[in-house]
């Protein structure tokens, strides 16, 4: 493999965007590099002229509570996510999904932004973020400095392994609302011990119960892979919120709705469509029960301040 010829470590977003802009499409953003470099080594990605390492940008790895949001810098590593008390209190589906990616050596460097930018429909961290209804902050180069816009997470995916970012744009941060009272979330996935370490199926769910702790008032369900991009099982969410109570029937209805809505496919050496269909049932049941259990004990989810 031919390698890059320059390695930049900008300290600010606008510096990073300027570098990207100068190189046009000949530069690539690198954060942890654990996906990018493997793709380059396998010649699946052409060697860029330059790598722009965004991990030294000030604040790129922050975890903060700001204006009613929990904000995560795009360069936050999986290890930081796993070990953050704030995120454990409010975003278990994220700490759980980020905690199962790779081994510690990979999680120490791999970033959430990288996970999202890689745009795999089964990306664990992305599935966790999706259940939190996260928004993503995109920073774009402009003549007058960086332009920042918040947009829904799903809006940046174009297809398997493809995002909608221009060569001189980058992910800067994610944000989502703290978990209110009577709400809970969870993630689980199915792997196989053979072949590439991509999940057969992963599901994250977030629910909020009514005051009586009987009915699901709000539900978000994210499933991957269940289509070319990360997938929200909206019909399953409706099935849950329209049920009179959270019970076996409600769960079965949600499963049937998710199975009907998901576009499952057989992927070679990973899973058959039939198996994935079955796994939606198994996993959704598991994560819904865990989420509801967490919601029931979640009276006042303040969580420690800061990370």
């Amino acid at each position: 493999m031919a390698r890059w010829r320059a390695y930049h470590t900008p300290a600010t977003v606008s510096e990073a965007l300027s570098l990207l802009h100068e190189h046009r499409d000949k530069a690539r953003i690198i954060a942890g590099g654990t996906d990018l470099i493997l793709d380059m080594e396998a010649n699946q990605a052409a060697a860029p002229e330059a790598l722009v390492d965004v991990t030294r940008i000030t604040g790129i790895d922050r975890i903060a509570q700001e204006d009613g949001w929990i904000v995560l810098g795009a360069g936050i590593t999986h290890t930081q996510i796993e070990s953050s008390p704030l995120l454990r209190a409010h975003a278990r589906c994220l700490t759980e999904s980020c905690g199962v990616i790779g081994g510690p050596q990979v999680r120490n460097v791999a970033t959430l932004g990288g996970n999202v930018a890689h745009a795999l429909p089964a990306a664990d961290g992305t599935i966790g973020l999706l259940a939190l209804e996260a928004e993503v902050e995109v920073a774009a180069h402009s003549a007058r400095g960086a332009r920042h816009t918040w947009q829904p997470l799903l809006s940046i995916f174009a297809g398997p392994g493809r995002n909608r970012l221009a060569p001189d744009q980058m992910l800067h941060a994610f944000r989502f609302r703290p978990t209110p009272a009577r709400a809970g979330n969870a993630f689980d996935r199915i792997m196989r011990p053979q072949g590439v370490a991509l999940p057969v199926l992963g599901i994250a769910a977030r629910v909020r119960l009514d005051a009586a702790l009987r009915r699901v008032e709000e539900a978000v369900i994210a499933i991957g892979p269940a289509g070319p991009t990360p997938f929200r099982a909206t019909s399953a969410e409706e099935a849950l919120t329209s049920a009179k109570a959270f019970d076996d029937d409600a769960v079965e209805d949600a499963i049937a709705a998710a199975q009907a809505q998901a576009s499952l496919r057989s992927s070679k050496y990973r899973a058959s469509q039939a198996y994935r269909h079955e796994m939606i049932g198994v996993l959704l049941k598991r994560v819904l029960h865990t989420s509801v259990e967490r919601a029931r004990v979640n009276e006042a989810p303040a969580g420690p301040e800061g990370a």
């Binding site: 470099i37 080594e41 510690p104 990979v106 053979q194 072949g195 058959s272």
Partner: protein
């Protein structure tokens, strides 16, 4: 070049390096810190783990400039300089380093630095981790030797040391009363080097003026090569040569058995698999060599290919080697015993199934590397021996450094293809990062030697992991139809089997491997009638050859699965069925060998069965009446499964099996033992040292062992067939004994007594007065220990008739006797298959039981516990022995559950390590391992082999357990949780598909592979 500043192990470095460097490259090649290993280049194996600013990273894909200005800690920085370390004294090891030594957690040692660095990050935060925390920490750090159990106990022990100041000992299974050196859990002689990063593997050596080779490989599974245009590559600045078939001065082909493998495909030889070498580019740097490859234009004429061994046998199949009279049939191997028709007619129950096993990959963590230094090279040649005398050895021969299982075979093949005499080539074996059978064939040895000769410069060829995967011979995939008949009472009567083995493009050891699969296809049972036919076939897949288990892994899966099906049909307990039929002393094998001694199989079965019953009784929630009944816990259903196995020690089949060893004693009171046999992590060096020390009455650490050097060590033969403990161990033992006898003679004269009463013990040589008294018919009061080779307890108080070993050597030298003796040990003669004689001089036996869980919701399979018993004749070193057992078991778990090297119509799908999952630490079950010692008369102290048997019964024990758990029989490996779940859902009893299936399933059950 860009400026890089790093603080590595506390020392600041300022370097100018290309901006594209990875951290591992900077450490290894720019700073010479070669303790950090590169195993995969894809952040998969963890060998390259270092700590950057407090966090562990995979340095193989970590851009060096990410660490700009940072603090890097590598394995070399872990040990603290101890008192006296300035003067060559020992450094003070980190507790993890000490624990890895004491608990046997380092074998080949290649993964060890990564494990220690990664485990350090855990212990720094939590010196009292649970097993689960250790497994989570090390989940992406891979070891292929130990099976991880010793690693887990080392981390715990190190933690305990950090908390309490006391290091607990390793827990070892009981063994026979040890001798002074035999039966003792002695630490490895290379252990300190391996835990400190000082151990040198081939890629860790560099020479002045060294060039780098890169190999162009065929893109087609079968193609004639019309033209190779390398002009542009040769014109590239920095490229010194591009070599092709036209440049081979000697034999254009090589091979371990058949001379069928071209040094380069091209000319008369087509490319016969994807991976066949076509050209070698030699350049100033590895990057330039790679760039040169990209400039070579090859014109192929694709030929029809055959990739299924059954199709290869058809007369109209494309022929791989048209010059062979038997075409694609490498060998038809037959076992004929009794009359199977009569046997099946007399059987009450007959079971017949077809099984399949996949092609699997050794995945040793060190990819192949060969380094050749031309004749006349002016620099110093580093010796791999630690003997002082050897480091001064002057040689101006063409020298090849390589991690190889058969150094003398390498020398023969290199010399032949270069048109040289054997003596004009020297092969020096470096430390080897695992072999498992995968480093027996030629890899880059001939290419490197040729390139060194052509360029006049040292040339290194390091394979990438990806290249290693597609290039080297694999475990044969097999299709085995087997029919087993038994009486109502369970007595086995007859077996008929037909095996197809995919030997791939070249013979390698295919014939031998499939012969072993065939002769062992009765299982370790008395079988009155047998008819077994095996077809070892050439195909356009990667060659298959030796891999731990050597064919028996495959046939044992079929045999032991059929046996459980038979037990179910007979309504018999599967252990009882085995008990009724297991080989005992006096039994005859289907090849006509009477087993006259050392058959410990029944004891193995007893021990394992007792343990299973005890395990049931301990957990009150489990029913105790039927040890095989499943138990549901949550969504998981648990059940035990059992299987037995046996494996020959030694080459057998009439092949002359010998090893030569040289012993030398020195006036400083030390000894050396030398043989070319290969140390690949199994601790043969420790066996050789123990045997030598035992015979000379020396402490083990006083023996220097030199292996794998065709100039310094006599031929120990191949490290294959579980033979080295027995054959080379015997050579060392008998060489040392001959030396002892010579010294006894000299000292007998000095002390004016009989040679037989001169004893050697703990570095002393003395007149054993008790022995002397006995010789004269008198008795002295018993006192002190009574070692097999005399004991210091035999010195009477006040006796002056003793000298130090050093003075004993001086006495020898004073008599002008040579302090050096060579001994050529010939193992007992064996007979070829079909002659009815003894095919093998010894067999090892084992019984494995696996407690397996199947998640009935997801089909996921996990092994929770393994109980095993191995009859190894005699435990020479229980610590290393346990390492062989646990490592073999975990490798067998991989064989059953995870591993498959997938090739689609001749094109490898498994191109990266990330696509080939060997078991990680999370798959390590609790392992209880019994050692059974039924000594074999000719083995050293009774020992026979263990390297392979530990990997054999485990796979069928697992699938038998799956059946006991959920009632589904897996007829093919590796088990596919997807297919298993769907079979449970649909009420199907058998699955003949497996993970990684490329063609249709055998039975048309309507399901398609995915």
């Amino acid at each position: 070049m860009t400026h890089l500043t790093l603080t590595v192990n506390g020392r600041e470095h300022a370097l100018d390096v290309p901006p594209s460097r990875y951290l591992a490259e900077v450490l290894r090649y720019d700073l010479g810190l070669t303790g950090t290993k590169i195993g995969c280049d894809e952040a998969e194996c963890g060998c390259c783990t270092v700590i950057v600013d407090g966090q562990s990273v995979d340095s193989c894909i970590y851009p060096a400039f990410k660490a700009q200005g940072g603090q890097v800690l590598t394995i070399e920085g872990l040990a603290q300089p101890g008192p006296g370390s300035q003067n060559g004294g020992a450094p003070e090891l980190h507790p993890l380093q000490s624990a890895f030594i004491q608990h046997g957690a380092t074998q080949c040692g290649f993964c060890t630095p990564g494990f220690i660095m990664q485990a350090k990050t855990l212990l720094d935060e939590n010196p009292d981790p649970t097993d689960a925390e250790i497994k989570e920490c090390l989940k992406d750090t891979y070891c292929r030797c130990t099976g991880y159990a010793a690693i887990i106990s080392s981390v715990k022990a190190a933690g305990e040391y950090m908390r309490t100041g006391t290091m607990p000992d390793a827990e070892l299974p009981p063994v026979l009363e040890p001798l002074s050196q035999i039966g003792q859990p002695l630490p490895r002689l290379d252990a300190v080097d391996k835990v400190t990063g000082a151990a040198l593997y081939t890629d860790d050596y560099t020479f002045d003026g060294m060039l780098f080779g890169a190999t162009l490989r065929s893109e087609h599974p079968h193609a004639a090569i019309r033209e190779i245009d390398a002009d542009a590559a040769r014109a590239l600045e920095g490229v010194h040569a591009v070599l092709t078939h036209a440049d081979v001065p000697g034999d254009p082909r090589h091979g371990l058995v058949e001379n069928d493998w071209p040094v380069f495909a091209g000319g008369a030889y087509p490319a016969r698999y994807v991976g066949d070498a076509i050209a070698l580019a030699v350049a100033e740097t590895a990057e330039l060599a790679d760039q040169a490859l990209a400039l070579i234009r090859v014109k192929y004429d694709p030929l029809p290919s055959v990739t299924d061994p059954r199709e290869a046998l058809r007369p109209d199949a494309p022929q791989l080697h048209p010059d062979r009279p038997t075409g694609n049939l490498l060998k038809h191997i037959k076992v004929r015993h009794g009359d199977v028709e009569e046997g099946f007619a007399a059987s009450d129950v007959v079971v017949e199934r077809t099984y399949r096993t996949p092609m699997t990959e050794h995945a040793f963590l060190e990819p192949e590397c060969a380094l050749a230094v031309p004749a006349g090279y002016k620099g110093r040649l580093p010796s791999t021996s630690k003997e002082k005398a050897d480091s001064d050895h002057e040689s101006d021969k063409l020298t090849v450094y390589v991690g190889s299982q058969i150094p003398y075979s390498d020398r023969r093949q290199v010399a032949k293809s270069l048109g040289l005499d054997d003596e004009e080539v020297r092969v020096i074996g470096t430390l080897m990062g695992g072999g498992f059978g995968g480093k027996e064939d030629i890899a880059g040895q001939i290419h490197a030697a040729l390139a060194a000769q052509v360029t006049g410069r040292p040339v290194k060829i390091l394979y990438t992991r990806q290249e290693s995967l597609i290039f080297h011979p694999k475990r044969h995939s097999t299709i085995i139809r087997i029919k087993t008949g038994a009486k109502r009472d369970g007595a086995l009567v007859a077996v008929e089997a037909e095996l197809y083995g995919d030997s791939g493009a070249y013979a390698s050891l295919g014939e031998k491997v499939m012969t072993r699969a065939t002769t062992h296809a009765t299982g370790p049972y008395v079988m009155p009638h047998a008819r077994i036919d095996c077809y070892a076939m050439y195909t356009n897949n990667a060659p298959s050859g030796a891999f731990r288990g050597f064919g028996v892994t495959q046939s044992a899966f079929a045999v032991e699965s059929n046996l459980d099906i038979l037990a179910a049909e007979l309504g018999m307990d599967p252990a009882a069925l085995r008990r009724k039929n297991v080989m005992r002393v006096g039994a005859e094998t289907a090849t006509g060998q009477e087993l006259s001694e050392s058959v410990g199989l029944l004891e193995c079965l007893d021990l394992v069965e007792e343990d299973i019953k005890r395990a049931k009784a301990v957990d009150s929630s489990l029913p105790s009446s039927d040890p095989w009944a499943p138990v549901q816990v949550g969504s998981k259903r648990y059940a035990w499964g059992i299987a037995a196995g046996y494996k020959n020690t030694g080459l057998g089949g009439g092949a002359p099996d010998k090893a030569e060893a040289e012993v030398e004693v020195f006036p400083d009171g030390t000894a050396a033992i030398r043989t070319s046999s290969a140390e690949m992590g199994q601790n043969l060096v420790g066996v050789l040292a123990a045997c030598t020390a035992q015979e000379l009455g020396l402490p083990f650490e006083k023996v220097h062992v030199t292996v794998m050097d065709t100039d310094l060590t006599p031929d120990g033969g191949p490290s294959t067939a579980s033979r080295q403990t027995y054959v080379s161990g015997n050579a060392a033992r008998l060489a040392a004994r001959a030396m002892r006898e010579q010294m006894q003679n000299v000292l007998a004269e000095k002390f004016d007594t009989h040679p037989d009463v001169i004893a050697f013990h703990e570095g002393l040589a003395y007149v054993d007065e008790r022995r002397l008294a006995r010789m004269h018919g008198a008795e002295l009061p018993a006192a002190g220990a009574n070692g097999a080779n005399g004991s210091a307890g035999g010195i009477l108080p006040g006796s002056t008739r003793s000298v130090s070993f050093a003075d004993a050597v001086n006495a020898l030298l004073a008599e002008n006797r040579l302090p050096k003796i060579r001994y050529e040990y010939w193992a007992p003669q064996t007979q070829p298959l079909g002659t009815g004689g003894d095919m093998h001089f010894a067999f090892s036996y084992a019984v494995h039981a696996a407690l397996v869980s199947v998640d009935t919701e997801t089909g996921e399979v996990a092994v929770a516990r393994v109980i095993s018993a191995h009859d190894v004749g005699r435990a020479i070193n229980p610590l290393s022995l346990l390492g062989q057992i646990e490592g073999g078991i975990v490798m067998g778990i991989g064989n059953a559950l995870t591993e498959n090297y997938i090739v689609e119509d001749g094109i490898p799908w498994t191109e990266r390590l990330g696509q080939y999952k060997m078991p990680g630490i999370k798959m390590t079950p609790r392992m209880d391992s019994h050692i059974v010692e039924h000594p074999t008369a000719d083995g050293p102290y009774g020992a026979k082999g263990v390297g392979e048997i530990s990997s054999i019964p485990i796979s069928p024990a697992i699938t038998n357990a799956i059946y006991n758990a959920v009632g589904v029989r897996c007829l093919a490996l590796p088990v596919d949780q997807d297919a298993l779940l769907l079979a449970m859902r649909d009420g199907e009893k058998e699955i003949d598909g497996h993970w990684g299936q490329t063609g249709p399933w055998l039975a048309s059950n309507g399901r398609q592979p995915h």
